[in-house]
């Protein structure tokens, strides 16, 4: 497969850092009730959704930005950010700007129906709005709804209303509240009972405009005994300023359903001095609402100046399963504070955590998790494995695993390791002809293997390549 999303064989340095010259419609900077009403009006939303936003705005105004994560950044001026930007032609109903098509093509994501990707349906989000969703016909034949969030509000308002905010309530946390007030677009997916989605579903997020934040919302609902695999990818131009990305992803798995959600996050990470880069403050949570349901998060985080992200599972249904597989690579001055929460509510619920943190340069890489067994979680189990690999001496790695058990029958296993690439391993590979850079890259990829194996095949190949590129020049 030559044309893949996230195809990244272009350059050693950040290869997606270009800006698309496109006329955008912007709202003035700042956040208040007027802005929220403006966004809602531009999108022609029903009253209940405006109410949802206003409630979230009020919750946000009462909250303060959380600072418990091990990340440092100058104060964010929320009143200087623009909360909405949309390509003008699109909002004027004139079809898609050819520049945008070209942008996605350059990123390896053709949106033309003729050249679209085999086996992957894509929803492409450009700044605040979804610009195209491919493979509609096949999906419709199976009764699957996969479209932009705005379209879902028009097409299936009752489904959106039923599930929106049911996993991540509007006032859940500071960033989730912010998102709930101003989210502009995102993807929506509903898979009907008993249907196994025949395609990989994928959303590709692109931040283009300067001075804007991206606040997208993803909602995936897998009805009884259905299956869906979902992949999300992200890039942004190189800019000296920091840009805020505060997304919310909600997953709902009903009885017997399975959702696999994979992310390859390659937002612009900033330069050597730590100038610029995306602040990635994301709330992702899935609820295994029905018995025997399963939610599996796989994330490969290789970008962003700051990552604050804890994809979690609420295991409500009996015998439900939650999984979290993560690779977090930090380099230069990047800071990542990431991990997961597994909340065991139902009986015999099981969860698995595999986290691989790699720190290079002067970066900071923190793993943070909460595994909680509630009183009803009889015979629940968790297995956690959390490994850190240090590349060089100026980086740091920390792990903060927290366990709370209110049920004596619950079983928990936790393993953790911290290691460096050993001189003997490097020498062994060099003695077989590999130069030190290729040798390190191979060792790091080997370290991540368990996680990459969870990704759909083509994306695993891309993840390996991406990490190789990221490893280049990481030894200072």
């Amino acid at each position: 497969m030559a044309d893949l999303p996230l195809d990244n064989k272009l350059l050693q340095e950040y290869a997606h850092g270009f800006v698309t010259p496109v006329e955008e419609e912007l709202v003035p900077p700042g956040l208040n009730e007027d802005i929220v009403r403006t966004i809602s009006r531009k999108k022609g939303e029903p009253d209940w959704l405006l109410e949802f936003r206003l409630k979230a705005l009020r919750a946000w105004q009462r909250k303060t930005e959380p600072h418990w994560a091990a990340v440092d950044y100058p104060p964010i001026d929320y009143q200087s950010i623009r909360y909405y930007a949309a390509p003008r032609r699109l909002s004027a109903g004139e079809g898609m700007d050819p520049e945008i098509l070209r942008t996605f093509e350059r990123l390896g994501i053709p949106l033309h129906e003729q050249q679209r990707l085999q086996g992957v349906a894509i929803d492409a989000v450009f700044d605040s709005v979804s610009v195209a969703t491919t493979h509609q016909k096949i999906l419709e034949e199976h009764g699957i709804i996969f479209c932009s969030f705005s379209e879902a509000v028009r097409r299936v308002p009752e489904l959106v209303r039923q599930y929106l905010g049911s996993v991540v309530p509007p006032g859940d946390n500071f960033f989730a509240a912010l998102n709930s007030a101003v989210f502009s677009d995102g993807s929506f997916c509903y898979v009907p009972p008993g249907v196994r989605c025949p395609l990989e579903l994928s959303t590709y997020f692109r931040i283009n405009a300067a001075g804007i934040g991206q606040f997208e919302r993803t909602l995936v609902i897998a009805d009884r005994d259905s299956y869906v695999s979902y992949l999300e990818g992200c890039t942004a131009p190189i800019r000296d300023e920091n840009q805020l990305h505060a997304a919310v992803v909600e997953l709902v798995a009903l009885e017997g359903a399975t959702i696999k959600y994979s992310t390859v996050q390659n937002w612009y990470p900033g330069d050597e001095q730590g100038r610029g880069g995306i602040y990635n403050f994301v709330t992702k949570r899935g609820e295994c609402r029905g018995a025997r349901s399963r939610i599996s998060w796989t994330q490969v985080e290789v970008g962003s100046a700051i990552t604050w992200k804890y994809p979690s599972c609420v295991l409500r249904g009996d015998d439900s399963v939650g999984e979290f597989y993560s690779v977090a690579f930090t380099n230069k001055r990047m800071q990542a504070d990431t991990g997961t929460k597994m909340i065991h509510i139902g009986r015999r619920t099981r969860s698995t955590i595999v986290s691989k943190g790699i720190s290079a340069g002067e970066s900071r890489n923190t793993y943070r998790s909460l595994v909680k067994f509630l009183p009803g979680a009889d015979y629940a189990r968790n297995h956690s494995q959390c490994d850190s690999l240090l590349v060089g001496n100026r980086c740091t790695a920390n792990t903060f695993p927290v366990i709370e058990s209110e049920n004596p029958t619950a079983i928990l296993e936790h393993e953790a390791t911290t290691s460096r690439i050993s001189e003997e391993q490097l020498f062994y590979l060099q003695s077989r002809g590999l130069d030190p850079e290729a040798a390190r890259s191979l060792i790091v990829n080997g370290f991540c293997r368990e996680v990459f194996q969870q990704l759909p095949m083509e994306f695993a190949v891309e993840a390996v390549k991406l990490l190789e590129i990221k490893m280049e020049g990481s030894i200072g």
Binding site: Y428, L429, Q430, S431, R432, G433, D435, P436, A438
Partner: protein
């Protein structure tokens, strides 16, 4: 009779962690020759192989090493490998998560040149080589040396040697810890790698491998120097008498 030596070591002094281990070692290996190197524990045999391969912890303080006419000491380990030097390690390390197939693809591409390698043909070659060494094909999908038994690790070194097609092979006690059948397979592997242009430096403690791979010359390393060289008859003498009788003559000459 104007053949150039493959390997030419002159007055080599080298050490590790501030301690001198090799103290004036001389050795020449010509194409087509098999040299055995014997010596008591701690005499410096692995030090020599590490110095040859360019291990960063080992320091050469004096002397020269020429390989195929080039100054070997100027080259980083990967270029030594690309030039045709291969070391079968006494203690091969594990690389978690890196499969044998993946590792060998990278290694073969690095040594033969990326343009020379077609993925499908290489995979076929790997399978064939594994079968020939009586290894399960599933080894190709296992992480390199991870959880391998001692004997499996040694066989894996021979597997790599066959794929990399070196000019000079250094076997550091590849025969140690092998059962009778495995020993035969390893010896078979070495024979397959041999050619008129290839040389072997076979480091061992035991006569039995030398019955399978008869050496042209045998050297005894003692306290960092080759104190005696001779033909295969020297091996039987070591088996009979040990090394002590050589110690005295070594002491007398220094």
């Amino acid at each position: 009779m104007n053949i150039a030596p493959l390997l030419e070591i002159e007055q080599l002094h080298a050490g590790v962690a501030g301690k001198e281990i090799l103290r004036g070692l001389d050795l020449q290996i010509y194409p087509g020759e098999i040299h055995a190197l014997m010596g008591p524990n701690g005499s410096g045999k692995s030090t020599l192989s590490n110095v040859l391969m360019g291990h960063p912890a080992y320091e050469v303080t004096h002397g020269t090493i020429r390989f195929l006419g080039r100054n070997l000491l100027e080259l980083p380990p990967e270029e030594r490998a690309r030039a045709g030097l291969f070391l079968a390690f006494q203690y091969p390390v594990a690389i978690p998560g890196v499969t044998v197939a993946r590792f060998m693809k990278a290694a073969v591409e690095a040594v033969r040149g990326r343009e020379q390698v077609r993925a499908a043909a290489l995979l076929h070659e790997m399978r064939e080589t594994a079968r020939w060494l009586e290894m399960e094909e599933s080894f190709l999908n296992r992480a390199i040396n991870e959880g391998f038994s001692g004997g499996e690790k040694k066989r894996m070194e021979i597997f790599q040697m066959l794929l990399l097609r070196p000019r000079l092979i250094v076997l550091d006690e590849t025969d140690s810890g092998l059962d009778v059948d495995a020993l035969k397979i390893v010896a078979r592997g070495v024979h397959r790698a041999l050619g008129p242009d290839t040389g072997v430096l076979l480091i061992t403690h035991y006569e039995r491998i030398l019955n399978h791979i008869p050496p042209h010359k045998v050297h005894i390393l003692l306290e960092g120097r080759i104190v005696k060289s001779g033909g295969p008859e020297l091996v039987a003498e070591i088996e009979r008498r040990g090394y002590d009788w050589l110690r005295e003559s070594a002491a007398a000459t220094s």
